[in-house]
């Protein structure tokens, strides 16, 4: 660690490249905290958005018209508005209206909480549509066969439709989850201390904008790279020979 710090100090002295995160204790600590925040924010949002997507796709097939209408309302609300606007809306409008109503000072939820909420529902709306596309790709004859065997509607979804649909929609789902990880950067607008927010503070303090831009770029390439690799491994692992080819 010492030699790494020394090398980067030399880099600064010799070439004026100021990568303070490698030799300044304060900058390193806050930067690592920022990357960690991005990782767990992404993880929580990815999981929550998949759950919302599955539940949403199931509810969309509901025989009850009002459930279907509410679902299309939810999708329209989250899919037709930019995530940055949603974050501002929840954090500054919804939160202050609710805390005003209940007389709470300091907001009802932290900025991190609102970021999880907005981003999960945002990506969840897309996931709902992605899963619906997958479900519609499952042949009607297959579900009819299950019906004939006495499966209930939930059982058909759980054991027949969803496992097949999931394999069909994985490529589209990968795309959306990758986008979700990248969209976590907008949380810096409501002061969630993630990678971009912290990097912005570091480059404001140290005047090393180009250096930090490169660092941010590398961080996201690596983070998204890991996600893509995991998703591809999973895609391979659950492949059903002869299905969807």
């Amino acid at each position: 660690m010492e030699t790494v710090a020394e090398w980067f100090l030399w880099l600064k002295e010799a070439h004026g490249i100021k990568l303070t995160i490698f030799y300044d204790e304060l900058d390193r600590t806050r930067f690592l905290k920022g990357v960690w925040t991005t990782i767990h924010l992404s993880f929580v949002c990815v999981l929550a958005s998949i759950v919302i997507g599955i539940a949403g796709a199931w509810l969309q097939m509901s025989p009850l018209v009002w459930v279907r209408r509410i679902m299309s309302g939810y999708i329209a609300f989250f899919r037709n508005t930019p995530p940055l606007v949603q974050l501002y809306f929840f954090y500054f409008a919804v939160d202050s209206a609710l805390s005003g109503l209940f007389g709470i000072r300091g907001g009802i939820m932290s900025s991190y909480g609102w970021a999880v909420m907005a981003l999960s529902f945002f990506a969840g709306a897309f996931n709902t549509e992605i899963f619906r596309a997958g479900i519609e790709a499952v042949p009607k004859s297959t579900t009819e066969a299950a019906q004939a065997l006495g499966y209930s509607r939930f059982q058909i979804f759980r054991y027949i439709t969803f496992p097949l649909a999931y394999r069909v929609c994985l490529p589209a789902l990968n795309n959306n989850l990758i986008n979700l990880v990248k969209t976590t950067t907008v949380a810096y607008a409501i002061a969630v201390p993630e990678t971009l927010y912290i990097s912005n503070q570091i480059w404001s303090d140290e005047y090393n904008v180009p250096e930090m831009m490169n660092v941010v770029w590398v961080v996201y390439i690596v983070l998204v790279g890991v996600l893509v690799w995991l998703m591809h491994r999973w895609e391979k692992a659950i492949r059903v020979p002869g299905f969807g080819q």
Partner: protein, 296 residues
């Protein structure tokens, strides 16, 4: 005291006049002002209480009082009444107004910077100063900088003092892109204090006392950046520049700036109080020449 100032003014005017006579084609700005009987001053009209509009739409404020006082001094020395015409300026055009000759001088909340001295003639000494402070809620328990430890403090993204005064005091900095977001977060109680320029807090208290009733400047003001009054670059060592310098020195010595602060509801600034002492003691900060290291 006043007589000696008058004499000094008369002397500077005389030298300026002599200079003008030797260079007959070029009458100085001060002579023009006296001849016209009118001095055109650029001030802010949107920066309460230094320069703002009253209910009738007139520009009033501390800097306007300064301009009027200067006109009175010049008028007394010249034995003629000098009228003040105010021109509302903003940060992006105030220096251009001066260069173009639209105004004779400018007292418009301008921070004194070396780069600006290359464009306009900022006279010595500085007349005021603003710095960085925390505007905190009365229940926050913030009385001084060390009290920030562990507290949520709002700030602006990219401000240099976030690290220097926020994080080094172990505050939990919550930074936003713009001032409106910070205001919303502060009023919602997401942070107990706001780290920013102190001169931005005072207009809020003046314009909107009810909204900000629970908030006040709670730490000492630090990182002072002095404000400079300016004339055209070529006028800085001429009659008008010297007259403005002499007036500022006298305002400090006689405590007039302290009086104006009281009149306009501005909390007493330590920088101003220190200047009164320095000027009385004849410190070279309070003369009309720029000494080494006075401006960064």
């Amino acid at each position: 005291m006043l007589r000696s100032i008058k004499l000094a003014l008369a002397a500077t005017i005389a030298t300026a006049a002599a200079f003008a006579a030797s260079n007959a084609s070029l009458a100085g700005t001060l002579e023009d002002i006296i001849e016209r009987g009118k001095m055109v001053v650029g001030t802010k009209a949107d920066y309460a209480p230094w320069g703002m509009r009253d209910a009738q739409g007139n520009i009033v404020g501390m800097e306007i009082d300064m301009a009027k006082d200067l006109a009175k001094r010049i008028g007394d020395a010249a034995g003629k009444e000098i009228e003040v015409e105010l021109v509302a300026a903003v940060a992006s055009n105030r220096m251009q107004f001066l260069e173009q000759g639209k105004i004779d001088l400018m007292i418009a909340t301008m921070s004194d910077k070396l780069e600006r001295r290359e464009v306009v003639g900022i006279v010595q000494p500085n007349y005021y100063s603003s710095g960085v402070a925390v505007f905190a809620h009365k229940d926050s328990g913030i009385k001084d900088w060390p009290d920030l430890e562990g507290k949520n403090i709002c700030g602006t993204q990219g401000a240099w003092y976030n690290k220097e005064w926020g994080e080094k005091n172990k505050a939990n900095m919550i930074v936003f892109k713009g001032v409106p977001e910070i205001e919303a977060a502060l009023l919602d109680g997401r942070c107990v204090g706001w780290l920013y320029d102190d001169s931005a807090f005072i207009p809020r208290k003046v314009n909107d006392p009810e909204k900000w009733a629970d908030y006040s400047i709670s730490t000492p003001v630090v990182a002072d950046v002095p404000w400079g009054a300016a004339v055209r670059k070529e006028d800085v060592n001429e009659g008008i520049g010297k007259a403005l310098s002499a007036a500022i020195i006298d305002w400090h010595k006689t405590g007039m700036i302290v009086e104006w602060e009281k009149k306009w509801g501005i909390p007493a600034t330590k920088w101003v109080a220190d200047m009164v002492e320095k000027c009385k003691a004849g410190n070279k900060v309070c003369d009309d020449v720029l000494d080494e290291g006075e401006i960064k």
